[in-house]
């Protein structure tokens, strides 16, 4: 009896100590910091990181901002910068034709990657679709500005534009660092690639400097660098049914070093006659893809993740699944129109049960 009591006492004291100390033992551990920026890739950037001090975190953030700013200026299709040749310069038309434009090596590399992804996805991800996407962009913005008069782009207009989307007319000369669009009516839109590609480049840069325990989120392109201090990062996959208040997330993932990207019909859309029309345009139908509510891609490369999430969103399930299974380090989850979820073979190894507090 006595032995039992002293055992009980011991357990109780240890429990008290564990409770008492668990909340305040982080004096020597790195602290978690967050920063938000609004100036890159027309979206919000979140940086989360563990550092010894606010000063150290801020210093790394300044470094990240410099990098993001560099890629933003090079890859934007909307903004011109004095003395800088970027995608706007490549898309420019003088006297009825495009110019041969000398560009930074970073643009050559990104467009070369874009061509690779075109072939890998059987043409589903096509950066030469600018002529078609431009029309959708104009109609979507007009519809958001004036919802009562929102309209769909006329199909004959889209079809005419689609005649000028041949990827082979994008001529990259890697030796001389020049880019030339051979079809005067074509233009580049790197919206499905450049953001993820840039995030990957910035993450590579941080890794090369030995920085770890950071997370970059540029408008939903998430790339983790190492762990969240001593644990893995917790990523919630949003419920595409945004009205479902009970279940905001349909899956929870734990990652350390990977990238997660979701393409969803709920993300950026406008409404015409009560129907939602989102921004992921199928090169075959020239209309927003309707096969899924969302597709999430988990991979070790955010550039591939960005391109693959768009491609899978537009591909038939069987073709998409085959593409995922035949590509190393890529896993995916598809949410079908009825809400049913499909997974690639390795996806569920990353999921965890979320226990409501």
């Amino acid at each position: 009896m006595k032995r039992f009591l002293s055992l009980l006492l011991g357990v109780v004291i240890i429990t008290i100590q564990m409770i008492g100390f668990s909340g305040c033992d982080n004096e020597t551990q790195p602290e978690k910091f967050k920063a938000y920026y609004f100036d890159y890739f027309d979206t919000a950037t979140t940086i989360i990181g563990y550092a010894e001090s606010k000063e150290e975190f801020d210093k790394i953030c300044e470094d990240i901002k410099t990098q993001l700013n560099k890629y933003h200026r090079l890859f934007t299709i909307y903004n011109r910068y004095e003395g800088l040749n970027n995608l706007v310069t490549i898309n420019d038309v003088d006297d009825g034709k495009h110019n041969v434009v000398t560009v930074d090596k970073e643009i050559i590399d990104m467009l070369t990657f874009a061509k690779e992804m075109y072939h890998k996805t059987n043409g589903t991800v096509n950066v030469a679709m600018g002529s078609v996407l431009k029309i959708w962009h104009v109609y979507r913005n007009a519809g958001l500005d004036d919802p009562f008069n929102a309209e769909l782009p006329p199909m004959d207009k889209l079809k005419d534009a689609s005649k000028h989307t041949n990827i082979n007319d994008l001529i990259i000369d890697a030796e001389n660092n020049t880019v030339f669009l051979a079809d005067p009516e074509m233009s580049l839109d790197v919206g499905a690639i450049a953001k993820g590609y840039a995030v990957e480049k910035v993450a590579d840069y941080l890794e090369s400097k030995g920085i770890t325990n950071f997370l970059l989120n540029v408008g939903g392109n998430v790339r983790t660098i190492g762990m969240a201090d001593t644990e893995k990062w917790k990523v919630g996959i949003e419920n595409p049914d945004t009205n479902n208040e009970e279940q905001p997330y349909i899956e929870y993932l734990k990652v350390a070093g990977e990238s997660v990207v979701t393409s969803g019909s709920y993300q950026r859309f406008y409404v015409v006659n009560g129907e939602n029309y989102h921004h992921i345009i199928d090169p075959e139908t020239l209309m927003p893809g309707t096969k899924y509510r969302s597709v999430s891609v988990l991979t070790d490369d955010s550039g591939i993740g960005d391109a693959m999430s768009t491609a899978l969103f537009l591909m038939d399930y069987e073709d998409g699944k085959q593409l995922v299974e035949s590509t190393d380090n890529v896993e995916a989850m598809w949410v079908l129109p009825d809400g049913k979820q499909q997974y690639s073979s390795g996806f569920e190894a990353y999921t965890f049960e979320y226990v409501q507090k």
């Binding site: 009896m1 006595k2 009591l5 009980l8 006492l9 109780v12 004291i13 429990t15 008290i16 409770i19 008492g20 909340g23 978690k32 967050k34 920063a35 938000y36 920026y37 609004f38 027309d42 979206t43 919000a44 979140t46 989360i48 958001l144 500005d145 997370l215 989120n217 939903g220 998430v222 969240a228 990062w233 917790k234 990523v235 919630g236 996959i237 949003e238 945004t242 009205n243 208040e245 905001p248 997330y249 929870y252 997660v260 990207v261 979701t262 950026r268 999430s296 979320y354 507090k357």
Partner: protein, 133 residues
């Protein structure tokens, strides 16, 4: 022998009382810890990265967040039933209004045109999720 026995019993009783007291204190401590841990989630309003206001998530309220040089931009933050949302805004894209109400520690609502981030924070717990995609 008899005397010895009753002494033993007395000792045992004291031990039991001591054990009960300690268990009681531990339980009370645990209860207090759990209670303070679950309470105290805060809605932090950040404008261009700087925290301008914080409100308890447990109290219903409506706040008008004004931004821009002459306070010309308006977002209405609504805290209701333990959830925070942007119920109205005069930004061009209205993405913040479309975003669902948040309540998990670490969740955010972003208004890009007005450079506003609404974040659920809690000093006593880890983020429930780090990021949503």
């Amino acid at each position: 022998m008899k005397n010895n026995n009753s002494q033993k019993n007395q000792k045992l009783r004291n031990d039991i009382i001591l054990a009960v007291v300690i268990v009681f204190i531990a339980a009370a401590g645990l209860l207090l810890f759990v209670l303070t841990k679950q309470e105290g989630s805060t809605v932090a309003v950040k404008i261009d990265g700087v925290v301008t206001d914080t409100y308890p998530l447990s109290e219903n309220r409506e706040v008008s967040i004004k931004t821009g040089e002459n306070d010309e931009n308006i977002n209405i933050l609504t805290i209701k039933d333990g959830k925070a949302s942007i119920s109205e805004a005069d930004c061009p894209d209205k993405i913040c209004v479309e975003t669902r109400a948040v309540s998990f520690v670490g969740e955010t609502i972003v208004c890009l045109p007005h450079k506003i981030v609404i974040e659920i924070t809690n000093e006593k717990t880890d983020d429930q999720i780090d990021v949503a995609v």
